[in-house]
């Protein structure tokens, strides 16, 4: 057993901590509030913040994605669906690419698994909608943001 050293302050010592507490809160009164006034004042997330997904494009404006399906395989929450298709000249591209953002856990594995550096998580944390369908982000939505 560990002996606990009890500090008895007695009847007349009791008010002292109370006064100390009052002093402490009074000092808090004169500090600057730490609140971000959200709509006017936005918090700048760190560069490595994992927010909404983006499908990157090349300089020519084509999707980098080759629909290999690695992100779909690695995704622990199973929110990515990829359907591949081929152009007449034999180039693969995602015909359908859906990320169910409401179920996404923003782990960033898709970004890490991608061999073509085609998907990334942006710092955008402000996305909202009225219906569930709006959060099934499709290929074109993800490429645009």
């Amino acid at each position: 057993m560990i002996p606990v050293k009890s500090r008895r302050i007695g009847f007349f010592g009791t008010p002292l901590p109370l006064l100390k507490g009052l002093l402490f809160t009074l000092s808090r009164l004169f500090t600057k509030p730490v609140t971000y006034q959200y709509p006017e004042q936005k918090r700048q997330p760190a560069d490595r913040w994992r927010g909404l997904h983006r499908l990157k494009t090349t300089d020519a404006g084509q999707l980098k994605c080759v629909a290999c399906g690695l992100c779909e395989a690695v995704c622990p929450a199973n929110v990515i669906t990829v359907e591949a298709k081929e152009t007449p000249d034999g180039r693969r591209f995602p015909n359908r690419f859906v990320v169910e953002v409401t179920r996404c856990i923003f782990c960033g594995y898709c970004q890490e698994a991608c061999p073509k550096d085609a998907i990334e998580l942006t710092t955008n944390y402000e996305f909202c909608g009225y219906t569930r369908e709006e959060f099934h982000m499709t290929r074109d939505v993800l490429a645009r943001n």
Binding site: L18, G21, L22, F24, T25, L26, R28, L29, T31, K32, P33, V34, T35, Q37
Partner: protein
């Protein structure tokens, strides 16, 4: 006779309006100061510094649905908010908040009335004030409400005793029950600065806080245990009335402490010029209101048994001993 009636009615209306304004802005002070103590902003959306927030809250209260749960005692349920706010307002009737001034050749005293048993009247009203909370909790047919009102009853009765006993020492020193005379007796030297009388001052603040159910003695509405306690089933303006009663109580307690211990409208040690009397009184009242908010932001709520033990085993003996000591000192030594 008629001009007395007219004068009284005007005074009542003015005092009531100003008191209601103060009650509204006490909520603003509370939210703002608590916010800043917790390093937040507090209300700042409605008007500059959120100054219009109380008005917005009041308007919102009127537009909310007034819900009456089934199986309530409807009469008592509707009566309880009124019962809790009326005594709080009536206390202000005997508070002298200024001396007197002359308007259109009439001498107008800055108080609604000066009855010679003012303190007894206030103690009586303090007893009445419990019923609103008790009946409110009981009538709403809710377990938390009932528990809250039970606690209120027990706590208020035990602290009222110490409160009344504490007052006796002030009455002994002033030799009067009239608040005006008590204030006038403090010209030059406030009661707090007189020997020993700081003890009843502190006792009175503690008992008063328990009496108006403020933190750290806010047992009846302990949010974390009772989910709001006695007012749990109330909504709309009935709920708002309970809150108005709480803040009106806080203001009237502050005014009472000012009158009894802090010299009312008197400046310390010097004579007060006539025009300064009302501002001095109000400044003291709001300093005390600020203290009530400040201590709320500091102290955690006591446990129920701790409150009862503190009331009966600490405050009561000190209050009783205080009478003896003050009595002996002022008769034998002074």
């Amino acid at each position: 006779m008629l001009d007395f009636v007219i004068e009284s009615v005007i005074k009542v209306v003015v005092v009531f309006a100003v008191l209601m304004l103060f009650v509204a802005y006490t909520t603003w002070i509370e939210r703002k100061v608590l916010g800043r103590i917790q390093v937040r902003h507090g209300p700042n959306r409605v008007g500059p510094f959120g100054l219009l927030q109380p008005i917005a809250d009041g308007l919102k209260g009127f537009f909310k649905e007034d819900i009456i749960p089934s199986n309530t005692d409807r009469l008592l349920y509707a009566l309880a908010p009124a019962l809790s706010i009326i005594p709080a307002l009536l206390v202000v009737a005997v508070i002298p908040f200024g001396d007197q001034f002359t308007l259109f050749g009439r001498t107008i005293t800055m108080r609604i009335t000066d009855i010679n048993v003012g303190l007894l009247y206030i103690l009586g009203l303090a007893g009445l004030g419990e019923y609103g909370v008790m009946l409110g909790g009981w009538a709403s047919n809710n377990r938390y409400g009932l528990l809250g009102s039970l606690r209120t009853a027990a706590q208020m009765i035990s602290y009222e005793l110490a409160l009344g006993i504490t007052l006796i020492s002030v009455i002994m020193v002033s030799g009067s029950l009239s608040l005006v005379e008590i204030v006038e007796a403090q010209a030059g030297l406030w009661n707090v600065f007189k020997p020993i009388l700081w003890v009843p001052f502190i006792l009175y603040i503690i008992c008063g806080l328990a009496e108006i159910n403020r933190t750290p003695f806010d047992m009846p509405e302990a949010e974390s245990e009772l989910a709001c306690g006695f007012n749990i089933e109330y909504s709309s303006m009935k709920f708002a009335m309970f809150f108005m009663a709480e803040y009106a109580h806080a203001i009237s307690l502050a005014a009472l402490i000012t009158c009894l211990f802090l010299g009312g409208w008197n400046l310390p040690f010097v004579a007060t010029p006539g025009f300064l009397k009302l501002p001095v009184f109000l400044a003291k009242v709001f300093a005390l209101v600020f203290f009530f908010v400040w201590e709320r932001g500091t102290f955690p709520r006591l446990r129920y048994d701790q409150i009862m033990r503190f009331g009966w085993k600490v405050l009561m003996p000190i209050a009783l001993a205080n009478i003896v000591v003050v009595g002996l000192y002022y008769t034998v030594i002074a």
